[in-house]
Symmetry: C2
């Protein structure tokens, strides 16, 4: 089963208490696809500039990620500069240069048209919707968004939500989108907008999976996965996208989407998010093995299981 | 096995988004002892004023809590007024009247001297230490503290920590006490001050149990319990003390303090904290049954267990 992901492929300059890196390869689609590639086939739709060469391409192809949907445009790639000096949980943005991303028109290669899974990473909801509509064959669609789209592009975002099976956002975004402080109430309000599943990420505290009760009951079904307490967070950039890659990648590799599969998927999301934080940029994801992933899955199970 | 608890018995006027209550029976020792009473025998050391009558006494005695250590002094009981209108996770204090608590000198009834468990609720560390030293026979001592003592009474608090087996505090307190932002690093620093076990409470996200590695290794052992996502938090007052009562009460009822017992204890802590939030003051704890507690324990297990 293959996942098509649309989102940003970018360069990031990052400063954290652990140090500084200039122009790491980053972007939501990069983190997502590297993470998901440990579970299933991944195909990327993105746009890059002339500063994206064979070395960057190889980061994807070494993980057998299909890059035929990465468009090469004249100009420079999307660039983000940020720091986490006061708070490792929230980036402070110093500079954003959209560059070739400003006129991004996602083009879907014909070879991607049999993808059964679609992940709409955090981009303009108008583009998310366009990709969703161009891929009517997909069986499961998940997506991400951020405060900027929730606040200033709500009508377009609401249209996207109608076509999502699962939305992955953080606490602040869930509360902002729902206009409710209580997490359970916020989850119910968000799921009423479309997605049957909502994953709310709590950073270092883990994540909660909500499932709309389709039996007509009021209570959403709830499941919680812990995060691994890390001795040192080198760089949290991309942790949420890596979580999404683990979650959706694991699901895409399952023969059936049972409740048990969703539970394991959110644990795998937490596993991949924890790895992403251990080095700058995508360094850790590039060096990872499936055996390490499965060992950490067991560690996470032990961390929270009674028996 | 019986627990002696020293701490406040008080009146609270509380305002939350769900409403307002005047002069509820409250105080850390009240919440702790009601909660722990579902697991084991509890004995209280506290001071109250002339406004504490048979009706309040009955709240304790109905749960078979030993009140012989509650001293009745001339004047009014400790009074606290606070609200949670902007943030359910953090109280805003409007008024504190120490009243009879200002000259509290804990007196330990002779009948308490065979208690094997001691809980030092959040009071002046000078008093905590005095009670600890007056009860040398206890086998397991746990305690709580707060930002005020950490900031302005550190030397006295450090003396108390040396005599604690387990400390239960929240994230902010752990970070403040350790002077470290990273939770694992903070936990190691706090445990180096004395307690072999540290429970860090994360409010709506659950709690983490750290155990100092006594084999000489660097890594603390870690276990995480989720919190139950509540549809409506009526009043979070006393949730932390109720957590401590569930945690320590469960431990006190076990024949052995195995790693498995500690794991279950932190789940029971989370269970009792969740009940406390469901009504104003101690209302929910007063009406609770052991069967409800065990049912919620199973709910919490299901909430986070993969299999």
């Amino acid at each position: 089963m293959s996942i098509t992901v649309v989102g940003s492929v970018a360069y990031d300059s990052i400063e954290t208490p652990a140090g500084r890196r200039e122009r790491c390869l980053g972007g939501a689609a990069t983190y997502f696809s590297l993470s998901a590639s440990f579970f299933t086939e991944v195909r990327v739709i993105a746009v890059v500039g002339e500063d994206f060469g064979p070395e960057q391409e190889a980061v994807f192809t070494r993980r057998k990620i299909d890059t035929r949907g990465i468009e090469h445009a004249a100009g420079k790639s999307f660039f983000w500069e940020g720091s986490y000096l006061e708070n490792l949980n929230e980036a402070r943005t110093h500079n954003t240069e959209l560059n070739v991303f400003a006129s991004f028109e996602p083009k879907i290669p014909a070879a991607y048209s049999d993808s059964e899974f679609l992940f709409l990473a955090n981009i303009d909801p108008v583009l998310q919707r366009r990709v969703r509509e161009a891929m009517p064959q997909v069986k499961l669609v998940a997506g991400d968004t951020m405060n900027y789209w929730i606040k200033d592009h709500r009508p377009a975002l609401v249209e996207v939500l109608k076509g999502l099976d699962a939305l992955l956002i953080n606490d602040t975004e869930a509360r902002m989108l729902a206009g409710k402080d209580n997490l359970v109430q916020a989850a119910r309000a968000v799921m009423a907008l479309g997605p049957r599943f909502l994953v709310v990420k709590h950073g270092e505290y883990g994540a909660t999976l909500f499932e709309r009760d389709s039996s007509g009951g009021q209570e959403p079904k709830v499941f919680r996965a812990p995060a691994l307490p890390l001795e040192e967070v080198i760089d949290p950039t991309g942790a949420g996208d890596s979580f999404a890659g683990g979650f959706f990648g694991y699901l895409a590799a399952q023969p059936e989407w049972t409740a048990a599969a969703f539970r394991r998927a959110i644990f795998y999301g937490s596993v991949m998010g924890s790895f992403a934080c251990e080095r700058f940029g995508t360094e850790r994801l590039q060096q990872l093995s499936r055996a390490e992933i499965d060992a950490r899955f067991e560690l996470l199970r032990e961390l929270t299981h009674l028996d």
